[in-house]
Assembly symmetry: C2
Homo-oligomer: 420 residues x 2
């Protein structure tokens, strides 16, 4: 079992070989708000990405997919990349043919500044949909961001991709290559993300950018990314909506072990790197759920005893998406009936008499029936920042964990009033 | 095309052969709140029902299904019934074996009072789950309700089944049997329903009871009911949750045409009766959506141009369930991006460049792109009690209509504070 060391203040530039910056380029009116992030590698990197499956996907999603098409035009997407450029404020979604040209131009401007091919630039946008993306802020902003980019620039980049997020989200870990075939080498995986409504089609999106200095081929990096996304970003939900612009990309520089042979699947180093990606992505995902719009609590839904992985996911997802469950938690109500009813309509196979439910570690349902619990103790436990819901369906051995947040008056205020 | 006449103040006792009453029996603490409804037929009736598919279904759902098992143990459920008894305040869900016994006893007490078999009584409960149902209120309440039951009692029965509903829901129509093979006969279909969160597992449920005086066999009545439910109660959603207790039952007395041969499928009379059921159920369903918890607007989502019926339903349902769409309407924001993004993630097949969207009759999206509209005019139209969303996916000829409501601060208040 590899030991991971969390890097204090670490993020997308913690791994060797990467620089970043976040600046105000002019997509937003407020001059104090950063709205352009640039992550640039010293050398071309192995790269991979996962993207929204929404039919109304944005232009930058289409272009980034094109640029990562070494594996063909479908998923998985991987290839080579040197830079990632992101703007916030305008999503460049529902913008038709001009939108595609703007996303291509965004890559071209960045490629010219960095000195790489257009295809080596990945692009992402987040913000209002249906508006055209101006190019002038890139023409002035990208050279400025490149000039400012540094190994300390991760924090400013993380800030530049924010929309309704209340704080930037960064996480990084390192681990030793000793006993993994890389004696004396320290590997790092770090990243940043944004997203608080899951989706905001209107100010769209979750975006995550993860970097590592481990040496690995793009096709294998793609597998590691997909496995990590499957247990992290794909397991969070704020309001059941998924975005037109969701984008998660990763770059691997290999700079921690220059000249070393790349990490191969099936090796201890691969397993350690895959676990590090899960660690980073899971922590970023939890931060996103906890920062859900209007959220006052992070909610962790753990479903065990499912007959299949799909059943575990269906039950956990239905519980995590239930407005009734989420408003109950907001109201500090250990209301297991709403949890049971959500599981019951999820499509997962089980019998009600086999179900156990704990809320915040307190048994509230056994054998499908109410268990008396101390209401005062429940109210005390509701003061914690994280609320655990544990459901055992009693139908098998599969399990999963999903993260969401509670549903507050502020969610309605934020989303009822956003555009006006 | 049969002409239907809406019966002013009509409801579950508009059809010949039915009496009803709603009284305070003691399930609720407040003496002024009616909490027991009884609908009783003069003679045994053809009967049919549809019930929740939630695994955590309540005891009365299980017992009513048993009592309507002439078609076998699965769906469809039909048979013979004489009375329907409903209590509000306690759902008798998640109550195990004792709960089943209480539901059976509820039927037995009613059967003894009415003078029929236990199997001829259908039962339904709505209210808090996980609590045991007391029997004493039935022992005193059912005889009292039977004594009070009258052809004018539909309104009090409709009031007795309410939980968070802000007003009772009743609807009835009549139509002439002339030219349908029943010269000089007037047929009536009427009903009542409750439900405003869709579901409230906690005070669970949608309940609908529809009666008719047309003569028809139970198996055919079952088909008519299922067809009507498919375009009405199954097309409304308040918060995507479905209940442990959802119940819709219907009784046909034949009293409008005593001694006549029953209406057979394929005849004009059958088509007219089926259309009358759709008319009554659709109007009850719209009332329920408009009375969604915290709702300020009824929202009608019409999806056309879908490749399949399933695609039309998926797109309409995803739009109608989207918290972002519903909060936008609450905020009077003609935000088509949220509608498009919901359709895009619904699983329905289409291309974004083929999509048209109108909100309140105003074109806001054509060919997947923004259409400029008059914001002041939009704000004026948002004053209407019903907001129409029309989406054409441009992918085929299938269509559907779904009803929901907007998502307000009051929804959070009602559901965050309910149990406390």
């Amino acid at each position: 079992m590899t030991v991971f060391t969390q890097i204090e203040g670490g993020g997308v530039t913690s791994a060797l070989g990467f620089k970043a910056a976040g600046i105000h380029a002019g997509f937003r009116k407020e001059p104090e708000r950063r709205d352009l992030a640039l992550v640039v590698a010293d050398e071309p990197c192995a790269a991979a990405g996962t993207f929204t499956k929404n039919i109304f996907c944005s232009a930058p999603v289409i272009i980034s997919r094109e640029h990562l098409s070494d594996g063909g035009t479908g998923a998985p997407s991987y290839g080579t990349a040197r830079a990632v450029v992101v703007n916030s404020g305008i999503a460049n979604a529902a913008t038709g043919v001009p939108g595609l040209e703007h996303a291509r131009e965004m890559a071209r401007i960045t490629a010219d500044a960095v000195g790489c091919t257009d295809e080596e630039v990945l692009v992402a946008s987040t913000g209002v949909i249906g508006q055209h993306l101006p190019l002038d802020p890139f023409k002035t902003g990208v050279p400025q961001a490149l000039a400012e980019a540094s190994r300390e620039g991760g924090a400013s980049a993380a800030r530049a991709i924010m929309t309704t997020d209340t704080h930037p989200k960064e996480y990084a870990v390192s681990f030793s290559g000793d006993e993994l075939g890389f004696d004396g080498v320290t590997f790092t995986v770090g990243g940043m993300s944004k997203g608080s409504g899951m989706i905001m089609p209107n100010m769209a999106t979750m975006i995550a950018i993860v970097t590592t200095d481990a040496p690995i081929a793009a096709a294998h990096l793609s597998q590691i990314l997909r496995d990590a996304v499957g247990v992290s970003f794909n397991k969070i939900t704020v309001d059941s909506d998924t975005s037109t612009n969701d984008t998660c990309v990763t770059l691997a520089s290999g700079a921690a072990a220059p000249g070393a042979a790349p990490i191969e699947p099936g090796t201890p180093a691969y397993r350690a790197l895959a676990a590090a990606y899960k660690e980073v992505c899971t922590n970023l995902a939890r931060m996103m759920a906890a920062d859900g719009e209007g959220a006052t609590r992070l909610v962790t839904v753990h479903v065990a005893g499912a007959a299949t992985d799909a059943d575990a996911d269906a039950a956990a997802r239905t519980i995590a998406n239930s407005p009734l469950v989420k408003t109950a938690i907001y109201g500090h109500d250990a209301n297991w009936g709403r949890i049971a009813a959500a599981a019951g309509r999820s499509g997962a196979a089980f019998r009600q008499e086999d179900v156990s439910i704990d809320i915040m570690g307190m048994p509230v349902c056994r054998g499908g029936l109410t268990v008396a619990f101390d209401e005062d103790e429940a109210l005390r436990r509701f003061e914690a920042p994280e609320i655990a819901i544990d459901v055992n369906l009693g139908a098998g051995t599969c399990e999963t964990t999903m993260w969401t947040c509670d549903f507050s008056h502020d969610y309605v205020t934020i989303n009822g009033d956003y555009r006006t």
